[in-house]
Subunit: 217 residues, 2 copies
DNA sequence: ATCGAAATTATCGTATACAAAAATAATATG
DNA sequence: CATATTATTTTTGTATACGATAATTTCGAT
């Protein structure tokens, strides 16, 4: 945990965008933010640059920064991409995984089972991250791993939009087992397919539907 | 084109990393950069933040920024992800494209044909971008479009690594026609498959091979 | 009264100054 | 002579100051 003022501002604003306190289009005034976070304008500006870089804000030269909170539609879009990336990771892992990495994957999933036994959803969350990290590593593409990790982190804030928060742990675990099996047997197609669904159950069809309803937000 | 000092520094350093003038691991000293670009440290710091954001540099708190030039291996990895994203765009477009968008796509490809007739590879490059932009738009996922566009731009600097620079225009066009056909007939699988290959002919097998040779660059 | 131009104000972008932390050099001690 | 400890220097991170540009307001002319 960095003690920097800039990161404090960045995370603070990020948080407030995720929770909806800062609504889409709101101007991110440097002076006000500096005052609110009790820092000078310099770290505020650095934080804003990072926000722009991560897509959470838009900058108009000489005009300032504005909140770029993703609409419901955009969140769905992000999930759609996330499911693709997860699928790709699993598919590559199915071709490239080593015995040792497969072992690590099984161990990580055993951790998930433990979390279910304790009925500890927070613990499950962490163990689930470990599980997916194993796949990211085994996919043999560190760039892909980094990108997927970044998107996962970005979507984390919007998990509340995922309707099926509770009672999904057992199903998640079932999918894990299927994924492990697919990777172990080198079933590229299956590993891909299940991993996609693992991320977005309703799948792309849901988005198709949404597209025909209204184009914006 | 922004006249900002920060962007000047950003683009300058980006250029020098792409051309290899700034080698991997080189420390990006704020003072030297400020002197070299004849600006103060403030815009230099902003540029460095952006470089970190786009993955071209790594920042170690209280230690400074260091060039993060992608290795050959990483470039291959990026192409691998790029092919996946392009495939996804085409696949989604095959399901979602409208008559008008399909028309635009055909028009864009006609532009590519023109470029071949004139044997103008620079023109072909631009028209090819237009062609792919049509697919990005038709995929109906703006987040995906943005991400794919960003990666395309990032890889642009390393096109010199793509061996098959010359004499590929006709083959590229053949693939375009196949992609259009697949999208028009809604052949999701084919659109995906051809688009992937369109980006990275040698495909994933090449990378598989590389992985067994040596792990790190 | 309304529209337009000039003056004012506010805010962005940059430069400089300062404080804190780390790297380096110097000195002391075994 | 090597190592540890302290002093010096360098560099990062933050604050403040200043200039430039866009937004706003004021004022005058039609």
């Amino acid at each position: 945990m960095s003690n920097r003022a800039a990161t404090k501002v960045f995370q603070g604003v990020e948080e407030q965008i995720a929770t909806g306190q800062l609504k889409d289009g709101t101007k991110l005034d440097e002076a006000s933010l500096a005052e609110r976070f009790e820092v000078s304008r310099t770290p505020v500006r650095e934080a804003l640059l990072q926000l722009v870089g991560s897509g959470l804000a838009t900058q108009i030269p000489k005009r300032g920064c504005f909140v770029n909170a993703p609409s419901f539609r955009e969140v769905i879009e992000m999930f759609e991409v996330m499911s693709e990336l997860e699928g790709m990771c699993a598919r590559l892992a199915a071709r490239r995984i080593s015995d040792e990495q497969l072992n690590d994957l099984k161990t990580a999933n055993a951790g998930c089972e433990d979390a279910i036994r304790y009925n500890d959803s927070d613990l499950y969350y962490d163990r689930n991250v470990d599980f997916h990290e194993c796949i990211y590593f085994a996919c043999g593409n560190r760039f892909l791993a980094t990108e997927t990790r970044a998107l996962r982190r970005r979507l984390q804030s919007f998990r509340r939009l995922q309707l099926r928060a509770r009672g999904r742990m057992p199903q998640s675990l079932t999918e894990h087992i299927e994924i492990i099996d697919a990777i172990e047997t080198g079933d590229v197609y299956k590993a891909d397919e299940i991993s996609r669904r693992h991320v977005m159950i309703q799948g792309e069809r849901f988005n198709d539907l949404l597209l025909h309803m209204e184009y914006d937000q």
